[in-house]
């Protein structure tokens, strides 16, 4: 044990690492790479957030004020792409890098050089997505779903976007291979698969999902590319193709993608809630099975995103039944979290507040998902603001809140310094309130029939759009507070304890100091 804790000598051995920028370019260390993932993610969150504010500002009042329709469509498109592929997915890969080796008692990830490459593929992809705004013709206003044949008409920014998607896919697949190999092969002796923290389990499942579906997305956008430039007609009926084929392929990727984002978020929440309830996670085994069955079901329900394309009624019925079935394992997870809290000894530090916010709002997103899964209702609500509200409850209040909770939870471990609890709570409450101001009213807009992806709208939608836009600005500004909290913690936070949260019991808290040594476990920890 003491060999593990006495790490200063080992640390010095690594002092010959390149310093300055080259340290980060050449690093193969899981912590450095995790840190880069997280900062990259935050940068993209700001870029995507600015796009969101352009959208909400244009929608503040009826009429066209600040952007033209093409630019508006580009904003919705790249806001979606950047938030999904640039902000949320890399954030959870950042968590995976930081935490998996520490939680399973390994020194580092299984393939450190590939790990470096999978990170450094991201900045070029991000630059392509940003550069797409400035090439002739502007950004492609096709929606993040990139439906053909609109994409076939789009300007050259579409090609940059397709290339960016290819690169992002490569990065994700490499990251996934690394995570699976690490968890399967580098666990400390005595740590069976059913003993790893739930966060690691959620990442095993997510990584398999990624490996299965990223190539499918790559295929779909490659077919778009050849339709654009090389005379194929995959999505053009005149050449024997079918535009709806694109949607089937895209959503075969797209539905699992929802869970690629949500499942690691479940993992983070499953670490936070027991810690602040001072009680073991309720139903660990059923959590693993519920997560795995959500993952399997996610491959079988894709066409519920396209109920209105005109598929046969039998297909609509099948996809409806399969989709409502997902409510069962999702319900199990929510019930397990509530049972974990039940009769615990609860405290409400910032990570717990975000976890509870997640639980409350994600469940709401789940219920609106159930409403949307019912075909006749979806025919009314498909492609309206109801859908926009629904997936922001899942993506923002779900994944993003979980990521915020995770940052506050592990920041003391990662930096060895404690954040300011009062400011953290302010950040939570501002985010929680403004999130609901922004998105709750969008349910009403959707029910009343306001289509999504429109830069201008008729007068009966004006009032709720004003409220939503005010909420969006509040939510955006609240994130400046988050940046301040993180930076001031790193610079001048009070020293954190090894086990900052008394209820936290995974290896990084019980076996490693705060901050942990450069190589997490040079010798495997001794497990009870």
């Amino acid at each position: 044990m003491s060999a593990v804790l006495d790490t200063h000598g080992q640390h010095d051995e690594h002092a010959h690492h390149p310093s300055g920028i080259m340290r980060w370019v050449t690093t193969t260390n899981h912590k450095d790479i995790g840190t880069m993932y997280l900062w990259f993610s935050f940068t993209m969150f700001i870029v995507g957030g600015i796009m969101a504010l352009v959208i909400r500002t244009e929608l503040f009042a009826p009429g066209m004020q600040i952007v033209d329709p093409d630019r508006f469509n580009a904003m919705t498109t790249y806001h979606g792409l950047i938030m999904v592929f640039g902000a949320i997915m890399p954030a959870f890969v950042g968590f995976a890098n930081w935490l998996i080796p520490m939680q399973i008692g390994a020194p580092d990830m299984a393939f450190p050089r590939m790990n470096n490459l999978s990170f450094w593929l991201l900045p070029p992809a991000a630059l392509l997505l940003i550069a797409a705004q400035f090439v002739p013709g502007g950004g492609a206003g096709v929606g993040w779903t990139m439906y053909a044949p609109l994409t076939v008409q789009a300007p050259m920014s579409m090609d940059l976007t397709i290339f960016a998607v290819h690169i992002l896919g490569m990065s994700s697949i490499m990251g996934s291979i690394n995570i699976i190999t690490t968890i399967f092969n580098m666990r400390a002796p005595g740590m069976g698969m059913m003993r790893i923290p739930l966060f690691c389990w959620t990442w095993v499942i997510t990584a398999f999902l990624l490996i299965a579906v990223m190539p499918v997305l790559a295929g779909a956008v490659t077919m778009t590319l050849t339709d654009r430039h090389f005379g194929t007609a995959f999505f053009n009926a005149a050449g024997g193709g079918d535009p709806v084929l694109y949607q089937h392929i895209f959503w075969f990727f797209g539905h699992p993608e929802v869970y690629i984002i949500a499942i690691p978020a479940f993992g983070v929440i499953s670490q936070i809630i027991p810690a602040f309830s001072r009680k073991p996670l309720f139903g660990y085994t059923s959590m693993v099975y519920a997560t795995a069955s959500i993952a399997v079901l996610s491959f079988l329900v894709w066409a519920h995103h396209m109920y209105t394309v005109g598929m046969p009624v039998e297909a609509q019925l099948y996809f409806m039944y399969a989709t409502v079935l997902i409510a069962v394992p999702t319900g199990v997870k929510v019930f397990n979290w509530v049972a974990t809290i039940w009769r615990g000894s609860l405290t409400f530090e910032t990570p717990m507040l975000f976890a509870l916010g997640f639980l409350f709002l994600f469940t709401m997103g789940g219920f609106t998902g159930l409403v949307l899964s019912i075909v006749p209702i979806d025919v009314q609500l498909h492609d309206t603001y109801y859908v926009v509200a629904h997936f922001h409850y899942v993506m923002v209040a779900g994944a993003l809140f979980s990521a915020f909770g995770g940052i506050y939870f592990w920041l003391p471990k990662w930096t060895g310094r404690m954040y300011n609890e009062t400011l953290g709570k302010w950040h939570f409450w501002l985010s929680f309130i403004f999130f609901n101001v922004t998105f709750f009213v969008q349910h009403f807009l959707g029910l009343a029939g306001m289509p999504r992806r429109i830069p201008d709208y008729s007068l009966q939608f004006a009032e709720f759009n004003v409220i939503s836009s005010i909420g969006a600005w509040g939510f955006g500004l609240a994130q400046i507070l988050f940046l301040y909290i993180v930076v001031s913690t790193i610079r001048s936070g009070k020293p954190a304890e090894q086990r900052q949260w008394e209820g936290a019991d995974s290896l990084e808290w019980t076996h490693l100091p705060s901050p942990p040594p450069y190589h997490s476990f040079e010798t495997p920890p001794v497990l009870r």
């Binding site: 009926a237 079918d242 085994t285």
Partner: protein, 374 residues
């Protein structure tokens, strides 16, 4: 039953509030105007109530726990972490609830998709960015027209106060008789659009190269407004749908009027036109059909929408341009405009050949378009 009463009362209240399309701060689905719409409305209410009940139950328990099991109150954590009975129950009970929900959903869906035995069949074509309607079968067979946004540009760009039906008004609405089963066949000309009228509970994608169908039977006369619901490019927000549901007699009168208009259009080509008259007429046609893509100054928005001003084609042989406008260009956003009359086509082609940088000095006569159609 009480649902019906509430809806009837709400309907009266709406009618009483004169012509206001929809109230501000509307919280629920639009007032349904068809039987299917009512069933969807009720289905949504049922599902919402079930969800709310479960939500309140689960978060009631959570809320109690957050209050009662706080460390600050001295609560000591229990250490249980499984309970098979509870776990089985909370898997099985939701499953049963879901099966119960699936039943009304299934019956409503089957009714919604039953497009058999329509009274009138209308083909709806989505264009960038307008709708085209062709009455294929039933009363009014043969009627065909385009439906463009009627809201003036200056209202959109804040140079004039916005009208009551801002962005939800068209030049030629779809007119149908009340109480008749209307089957719509949707298709797209260029990209995917979606024909969406909330009050009639219809939303059907219009896929280029394919025909899909949906139906509605309006219970009440009135004007029902909707929008394109599938992102279709620049002016996706500016291609509304207006359905006028009228009495059987009014419908018959409307059909008669349309038939007369069509007959009048068909005779027109024999009238003599000079260049000035054609160009004047053509400017109006251009404003209604071409300006969104090719722009008022004829400069277009390359590369998707090429400039007409200085274009080789527009300044070249007449026959090529006539052919292009009549047939469209495969694989581009340029649609076929053959639904316009020969006079309109001749006028707009003449206009483009004699505007901006184009000075051909030639008129294209309606008879030339008539000839090219054959």
């Amino acid at each position: 039953m009480s649902g019906k009463f509430v809806r009837a009362a709400a309907g009266l209240a709406m009618a009483a509030s004169s012509a206001v399309a929809q109230a501000a701060y509307q919280l629920n689905l639009q007032e349904p105007a068809s039987h299917i719409g009512e069933r969807v409305h009720d289905l949504h209410t049922i599902i919402l109530v079930i969800c709310l009940a479960i939500f309140i139950g689960v978060f009631g328990v959570l809320g109690y726990s957050l209050y009662a099991h706080r460390k600050s109150k001295g609560h000591v954590a229990a250490q249980f972490h499984e309970n098979t009975t509870v776990e089985v129950l909370w898997t099985v009970i939701p499953f049963v609830i879901l099966v119960l929900m699936a039943w009304p959903a299934t019956t409503t869906l089957l009714a919604m998709r039953d497009t058999t035995q329509p009274d009138i069949t209308i083909k709806v074509t989505g264009y960038q960015w307008k709708w085209g309607y062709d009455y294929l079968k039933g009363d009014g067979e043969g009627i065909s027209f385009l439906s463009n946004l009627a809201t003036p540009h200056n209202q959109i760009y804040e140079q004039a106060p916005k009208g009551e039906n801002y962005l939800l008004e068209v030049d030629n609405p779809l007119v149908v008789p009340v109480g008749r089963k209307i089957r719509v066949l949707t298709t797209g000309n260029d990209v995917i659009h979606a024909w969406y009228v909330p009050a009639l509970a219809v939303k059907q994608d219009a896929n280029p190269g394919f025909i899909r169908d949906a139906w509605f039977r309006a219970d009440r006369e009135g004007t029902y407004r909707g929008q394109c619901a599938e992102l279709c490019g620049k002016d996706h927000a500016f291609m509304p749908i207006v359905v006028e549901v009228v009495s059987q007699e009014k419908y018959a009168a409307w059909v008669g009027e349309q038939k007369k208009k069509m007959a009048a259009l068909a005779e027109d080509p024999n009238k003599t036109w000079d260049l000035a008259a054609l160009a004047e007429r053509g400017e109006k046609v251009y404003q209604a059909n071409c300006v969104a893509c090719h722009q008022p100054n004829g400069k277009g928005q390359p590369p998707a929408f090429p400039a007409l001003s200085g274009s080789k084609l527009v300044n070249g042989p007449k026959a090529d341009q006539i052919g292009l406008v009549l047939n469209g260009k495969q694989g581009t956003a340029m649609a076929s405009f053959k639904q316009l009359s020969d006079v309109e086509l001749a006028a707009v082609i003449t206009y483009t050949r004699n505007s901006w940088a184009n000075k051909t000095g030639e008129a294209v006569l309606p008879a030339e378009v008539t000839a090219a159609r054959k």
